[in-house]
Amino acid sequence: MNEGDIDGILNRAGAEGGEPATDEFVRSVLGRIEPSLRPVRPLWPPWMLSCALGLAAIVVALLGAQFCGMYGWEEMGLTERVAVLGGIAAVGAVCCVGLTARMIPGARTLAGPVALPAGAVAIVLTVLALLFRSYAVDDFLENGLICFRAGLSCAVAMGLAAGLVTLRGYAVDPAAAGAAGGALAGLSGVGMLALHCPIFDLPHVATWHVGVMVVGAGVGALSAVACRRLFPV
C-alpha cells in the first residue's frame, strides 16, 4: 500500500460524513453573537506592530539611561558601542517580530516558544562574551543588585508598553507570547544598562544585565498565563 492508496482512502473518508450545520445550530450561534455584532477595526499590519514595539523598547531604554546616567555609553569605545547596541537592536528586532506573530492566530512564527527567548539570551551572552574579557568580580553582589533593579524597572516599564501595543491581539499560546514579550522587555532593560552601566566585567554583565532578560522572559510567560486565566477570551 503506497501513499497514494492511503490518500485515496483518507480522501474518501474525509468526503463522507461531515454533517452539515443544522439551521438550529446556526441560529443558536448567531443568537449569541448578534448582540455584539458590529464593525471592528482589524489589527494593525504585523510590520506596524513590530515597529511600534521596537520604538517603545528604544524609548524606554533611552529614557531609563538618561535618568540613571549615560556612564556606560561614555566608557565604551566605538567598536563596543556598535557591537553591543547593534547586537541588542538586532535581537530586539527578532523579538518584536516574534511577539507580533504570537498575537495573531495562525501567523508564521519565527521560532518555538522556548527557542525564541532562549536564542535571544544566548546571542546577547555571546556578543558580550566576545567583547568583554575582564573577569573581575569586585563588589559583584552590591553593584550587581543595583544594575539588576534598574534593569528590571526598565523591563517592567517596557512590559507594560508592550502589553498596550499588543492588547488587541489574541495569543493562542499565552505562555509563548508572554515569554517573547518578556524577553523583549528584558532586552530593553539590557539596552538601558548598556548605556548606563560603566562596569564591563563579564561576570557582572552576564549575570546581572542578561539576568534581566531571563527574569523578564519567565515573568512574562507566567504573567501572560495568569492574565489569560483571570480574563479568558
Binding site: 500500500m1 503506497n2 501513499e3 497514494g4 492508496d5 492511503i6 490518500d7 485515496g8 482512502i9 483518507l10 480522501n11 473518508a13 474525509g14 463522507e16 460524513g17 461531515g18 454533517e19 452539515p20 450545520a21 445550530f25 446556526v26 443558536s28 450561534v29 448567531l30 449569541r32 453573537i33 448578534e34 455584539s36 455584532l37 458590529r38 464593525p39 471592528v40 477595526r41 482589524p42 489589527l43 499590519p45 504585523p46 498575537m103 495573531i104 492566530p105 495562525g106 501567523a107 508564521r108 512564527t109 518555538g112 516558544p113 488587541r168 491581539g169 489574541y170 493562542v172 499560546d173 509563548a176 479568558p232 477570551v233
Partner: protein, 171 residues
C-alpha cells in the same frame, strides 16, 4: 470573513454553515461525544467572534481558524482535566469504532481510521485531508515548521499503512 468584520450577519451565517462541519470533525477526532463536539464548535465560533479583528484580510483563513480551534480544545481539556474519562451514550456506543470484521464492509469513517494515531499526527492528517490545507497552512495553524508537519504526516502514513494493511483495506 472581511464582510463579517464589517458587521455583516449574513456573512457570519455563511461562514458558520461552511466551516462548522470541518470544525466538528476536528473536535470529533479528540472527543467521543457528539454533543461535546457541538459545544466546542459553538465555543470556537464565540471565540472567533471575540477575536475577529485579529484576522487580516488577504491572509489564508483556515490557519487562523484552526489556530483558534486548537486553543479552544486545549482550554477545554484543561478545564475538564486532560485525559479525564470519556463518556459515551448508549447510542454512540452502538456506532462505536468497529472491529476488523465489520469495518471494511460498512466503510471506515475518518475518525475510525485515525483513531490509533497520536494526537499531533491525527490533527495534521485531519487538516491536510479534511480541511484541504497546504503544508504551509498546517504549519501556521499548529505554530510549527513545514518540516515538522511533513514528519508528522510521514509517520502517520506509516502507521496508517500498517493498520489498513492488517485490516485488508485497499486503496
Amino acid at each position: 470573513m472581511v464582510r463579517y468584520q464589517r458587521g455583516d450577519i449574513e456573512a457570519a451565517a455563511a461562514l458558520i454553515r461552511a466551516l462548522s462541519p470541518q470544525l466538528r470533525r476536528f473536535f470529533l477526532l479528540e472527543t467521543v461525544s457528539r454533543r461535546e463536539a457541538d459545544d466546542l464548535v459553538q465555543d470556537t465560533w464565540l471565540r472567533i467572534h471575540r477575536v475577529r479583528h485579529t484576522y487580516r484580510g488577504g491572509e489564508p483563513l483556515l490557519p487562523w481558524l484552526y489556530a483558534i480551534a486548537r486553543r479552544v480544545r486545549v482550554d477545554h481539556y484543561r478545564k475538564y482535566r486532560r485525559g479525564a474519562h470519556r463518556e459515551r451514550t448508549l447510542d454512540e456506543a452502538s456506532h462505536a469504532r468497529s472491529g476488523p470484521q465489520s469495518g471494511p464492509e460498512r466503510g471506515w469513517d475518518l475518525e475510525t481510521i485515525l483513531a490509533d494515531l497520536p494526537a499531533p499526527q491525527r490533527e495534521v492528517v485531519q487538516m491536510l485531508k479534511v480541511a484541504g490545507m497546504s503544508l504551509e497552512e498546517v504549519a501556521r495553524a499548529t505554530a510549527s515548521s513545514v518540516g515538522s508537519v511533513k514528519q508528522k504526516a510521514h509517520r502517520a502514513y506509516g502507521k496508517l499503512r500498517e493498520k489498513l494493511t492488517v485490516f485488508g483495506v485497499s486503496g
